[in-house]
Symmetry: C2
Subunit: 236 residues, 2 copies
């Protein structure tokens, strides 16, 4: 099914750690590669889970809709990450939506092969559950932060997380490597785009960041770390 994919492209990714080349090749043979343009929904919350995915290139935004119809963004994903693995947790439907934040390339497997897969490749099963454990821990961490930290800290943390995940060094500083709007950040931190805008403006005044249309560059990351830890009075 996949013709132009080589084992060497994926064998170092966390989901495949500890697997033999032949095992990985078998796996790839059952996948199909699909390209999603920026903004496209890969799957939607509540949709019956029929496939699972591996992000090869690009960045994906996980979107959760609340009862009240508002959007929350619990996380972004980077190349090499498995997603949509509802089957691993015996969920019948996807618990959130996945949206391409930029043009993405994705490997897709049908859920039908999941059980056989984890049975035949214990290393893959182990890796998968480790990933889920990390995500659960991270989600709980975020819950705790949202419950206790103030807006300023949460926004700082969100930006730092994005920069760490996807940061690319430029001559100005660390650039977040895909378009993030104020709205996006507000949905990550449970606030409004206005407040995010004001905070970023203040930090830009102070020379800690440079930001523009869907673009944020960390200039003085350590200052933002201070804000995230609540050890700074903000940029007054």
């Amino acid at each position: 099914m996949v013709h132009n994919l080589d084992v060497s492209l994926v064998c170092d990714l966390p989901p495949f750690m500890g697997m033999a080349e032949q095992e990985i090749a078998d796996l790839l043979a059952q996948a199909r590669a699909v390209r999603y343009p920026k903004g496209k929904n890969i799957f939607s919350q509540g949709e019956k889970a029929g496939n699972f995915f591996l992000l090869l290139d690009g960045h994906i935004q996980v979107v959760k809709l609340t009862q009240g119809g508002e959007q929350v963004v619990p996380r972004y994903m980077s190349p090499g990450e498995l997603f949509g693995i509802a089957r691993a947790l015996r969920l019948d439907a996807y618990p959130a939506s996945a949206v391409a934040a930029v043009d993405c390339v994705v490997l897709i497997w049908p859920n039908a092969i999941w059980d056989d897969l984890v049975g035949r490749h214990p290393a893959f099963a182990t890796n998968t559950y480790r990933i889920i454990g990390q995500r659960l821990t991270e989600t709980q961490q975020q819950l705790a932060e949202l419950a206790t930290a103030k807006v300023e800290q949460r926004v700082a943390n969100a930006i730092l997380k994005l920069a760490k995940q996807t940061g690319r060094r430029t001559d100005e500083g660390v650039l977040i490597d895909f378009p993030v709007s104020r709205q996006d950040i507000s949905e990550m931190t449970g606030t409004t785009l206005h407040t995010v805008s004001r905070l970023l403006s203040a930090w830009e005044q102070a020379g800690w960041v440079r930001s523009g249309r869907r673009k944020i560059t960390l200039v003085e990351g350590h200052k933002i770390v201070l804000v995230a830890n609540g050890e700074s009075g903000g940029a007054a």
Copy 2:
């Protein structure tokens, strides 16, 4: 190891669905039952995960400590629930603490038997991962709620959840069956005990709840549901 435990006591619990009596008996034979008095820590966040647990009787409070040293309570657990199953997700340490909210009886297994266990009893593995999936979904739900709903709604939701989980009908209404302080509820909802107290007072004025020292009774649950959905102006 366990002498006075009968298979019939646990065979209907979700973790053991689909398992043969003999399988369950094997499992029980490897467990030891321990009683924890109210307030006792069963395990602590960050502690090396050496065991996993099943709550037989009582209620357990899951406590997460933030970087800033504040406490958050992501969930309570009821009899029949597995907990401390860090091993299932390949976590080396417990990601949160477990505290007995009342006197509890708990079954304990060493993590050493985990891998063998899930290998030998596929139904148990399936059940476990289903539980984890439910918890992850629930945690994400809570994250979304915390990010978007206002304090009033969050407190109402927390109380409803507790009542649904552990509610006992009395002649006054539905009583939450273990001691919950204002502080506890504030830690579940990311607010202060003051605000919780004010809200409960208001609802008591309105006749929707009756509450006292570590005790809450829902009198008019439907009113609280309205508050939780943001369809009520509160008790003005």
